[in-house]
């Protein structure tokens, strides 16, 4: 029976292709500028590394107002003759607009559904706004599944030290501390997974929740970790994508991503509560020094936000954080920029207190998460100042130290859960 969330068109397109060994999903929305390149890279990767497999590229589009679907269907690979000669089955390209709640979650559901119906043994999803994707990414995301039997492949990128600050300060260290596996980019956006994993995802009851709407990346990673699946990561090089929508708001993004992580932490408390420490996951790909796009940051602006928060939100923070810690944070706000430091111990404690308050329903989730934003600004400004003269590799060590701090104090979280 057709799923009510999938349109007739989806079902029809699934029916035209009877089976596939590999399914590549590309979720898009107004990505006409880059999606052609992404499809060509995917096409070339499939032809070069999986010539004997029957593969399908699924573009699940969120109703783009530009020519994204046309770009997908018109995309031609540069070396088509060469690659096609190695191919047993031509790569089909299907454009399926997705419906239901708008966003990446709905797109991925469509992809999981079709992957399951087509009996795919390996799948991967890539973002449609990528500029730095190469055919090798497809090999790196699929080979661990096809050749090594892994269920889930997370991406590993070279990023500028100032890039991915939410990932570096909360998502990576907290996921690592909770589930005991060192997946560096839990919300990277590009993932490889087995057909079994796609079927597992499809059958989870999340598709009408906020997690499906806003936190599909962290959900995929967390479910793979909490579900005991075989996970690994692949080094893809530098990730360069189209500039994000200038109208997109950090506050909403923060609430959506961190809120999804906290919601999943509640859901899987039985899986993480008895774990301690962490271990590395198998890493594929050759790590090299990739050039990353330099980033200009507004440290003073972040500090200003932190100071305003410390001045106005003290009482609110004291409602779910240790009062001494709040006083200490308020004292930090009086430090001038060059010397300003937000100690990692205070930051970790604040995140754990916020997570506990979320669990114990001390405040409405949105208020709680938004009240954490000034603290995030403070910690991020401190990180920028601390690593100003460091290389990306040295700054990475600071991120690792923060992650170790999360692990060190995990017993505080478990004791108060």
């Amino acid at each position: 029976m057709a799923d009510p969330e999938l349109s007739r068109e989806d079902v029809k397109t699934a029916a035209t292709a009877e089976s596939a060994d590999i399914v590549i999903g590309i979720a898009s929305y107004n990505n006409a500028r880059t999606i052609g390149h992404v499809v060509r890279a995917v096409d070339a990767g499939l032809a070069k590394y999986f010539p004997g497999e029957k593969a399908i590229i699924i573009n699940s589009d969120g109703g783009s107002k530009d020519s994204t679907p046309e770009e997908v269907l018109n995309a031609k690979t540069d070396h088509k003759a060469v690659f096609l000669s190695h191919r047993l089955h031509p790569v089909n390209r299907i454009t399926t607009p997705y419906h239901g709640i708008p966003g990446k979650g709905s797109a991925f559901r469509t992809i999981f559904k079709l992957a399951t119906e087509l009996g795919a043994k390996a799948c991967c999803v890539v973002d449609a706004d990528l500029r730095s994707i190469t055919p090798e990414w497809i090999e790196l995301l699929l080979s661990p599944v096809v050749k090594e039997g892994f269920d889930f492949v997370a991406p590993l990128y070279s990023r500028h030290k100032y890039d991915g600050t939410i990932t570096n300060s909360i998502i990576y260290p907290l996921t690592r501390s909770l589930y005991g596996r060192q997946i560096r980019q839990p919300i990277g956006g590009e993932f490889g997974f087995s057909g079994k994993m796609a079927d597992f995802y499809l059958n989870q009851d999340v598709w009408n929740t906020d997690i499906a709407r806003f936190g599909i990346d962290i959900w995929m990673t967390t479910e793979a970790l909490a579900g005991g699946f075989k996970v690994c990561q692949s080094y893809l090089g530098a990730k360069i994508h189209d500039p994000k929508d200038p109208g997109s708001d950090l506050k909403d993004m923060f609430v959506q991503v961190v809120g999804s992580l906290m919601s999943l932490t509640e859901k899987h408390h039985e899986q993480w509560i008895n774990l301690s420490g962490s271990r590395d996951v198998p890493t594929f790909g050759f790590k090299y020094m990739a050039a990353v796009v330099p980033i200009k940051v507004n440290t003073e602006g972040m500090l200003r936000h932190f100071r305003i928060g410390a001045k106005n939100l003290r009482d609110l923070w004291a409602g779910f954080m240790d009062k001494e810690a709040v006083s200490h944070i308020a004292a930090l706000a009086r430090e001038d920029a060059p010397l300003f430091r937000f100690p990692k111990e205070d930051w970790v404690r604040a995140v754990y207190d916020c997570l506990l308050a979320y669990h114990h329903r001390k405040l409405p989730p949105e208020h709680l998460l938004k009240s954490l934003i000034p603290l995030y600004y403070g910690r991020t400004a401190s990180f920028f100042l601390e690593t100003a003269d460091m290389s990306d590799e040295e700054a990475e060590n600071v991120v690792e130290e923060v992650a170790a701090e999360y692990e060190k104090h995990k017993n505080y979280l478990t004791a108060n859960w």
Binding site: G164, T167, L250, K296, H360, R361, I373, P374
Partner: protein
């Protein structure tokens, strides 16, 4: 002298007769009120048990009811507070029922007035309670939004919203209780009209430059933000 004694004994015997007539009524009132205390204790016990079962205290903590009680000088838990409220409400109900049993014109009028006033009283209580929670929730939402928008005096703004909503709720409750509705309405209109006018003048005269700066800061921030990918 004899006449005085006769008249006094006449009065005393009438009083005695009336008292003898009243004693059964008084006993009935005492009985009703006593049973009221027993029923109230039972209701209190049942509701406290129910409130504990649904974790009313934890919920009250979350929505700020516990804090409100503490601020109002109650050092008991929200469950006990609600239990006590219901207890005394049931006692008063039985007390009024006892009065009604007398069948006097005055007590009948008093009792019917009481029962006619009850819906108004409860509406006013609901308005106050809802107003309190709405004011706290919205004040907190304004505080957090203002802080994240980079407004220095976010707390002042948030407290203004809280006070405005409290006054609005109390004015509505007074109107519901029919306590000087015209005065309340007029005072309310004058008070907020004055505040609105004062704010408009203040912002127009003194806030022009600040508004300009705030807007330019907002737009320049958008441009700066677009360079970094926090995810």
């Amino acid at each position: 002298m004899e006449r005085i004694t006769d008249r006094l004994s006449g009065y005393l015997s009438t009083f005695w007769e009336k008292l003898m007539e009243f004693i059964p009524d008084a006993l009935i009132i005492i009985l009703i009120v006593a049973s009221g205390f027993i029923v109230a204790s039972f209701v209190n016990h049942i509701f406290q048990k129910g409130f504990r079962a649904v974790r009313f205290d934890a919920w009250s903590e979350q929505i700020g009811f516990t804090t409100a009680l503490r601020k109002a000088g109650f050092s008991i838990t929200p469950t006990k507070f609600m239990g006590s409220f219901l207890y005394w409400f049931v006692v008063v109900l039985f007390f009024m029922a006892g009065f009604a049993s007398l069948g006097y014109e005055v007590t009948d009028a008093l009792v019917s007035l009481f029962f006619m006033y009850l819906p108004r009283f409860f509406s006013a209580v609901v308005i106050i309670v809802f107003g309190y929670f709405a004011a706290n929730f919205l004040a907190r939402a304004v505080l957090i939004a203002a802080v994240n928008a980079g407004i220095e005096y976010s707390k002042l703004l948030s407290e203004s919203v809280r006070i405005f909503l409290f006054i609005l709720a109390f004015a509505m409750a007074f109107e519901q209780l029919a306590i000087a509705p015209k005065i309340v309405l007029t005072a309310f209109a004058i008070f907020f009209g004055t505040i609105g006018l004062a704010l408009a003048i203040a912002f127009g005269a003194a806030g022009k430059e600040y508004a300009k700066k705030a807007l330019s800061h907002l737009f320049s921030k958008k441009e700066e933000d677009s360079g970094i990918d926090q995810l």
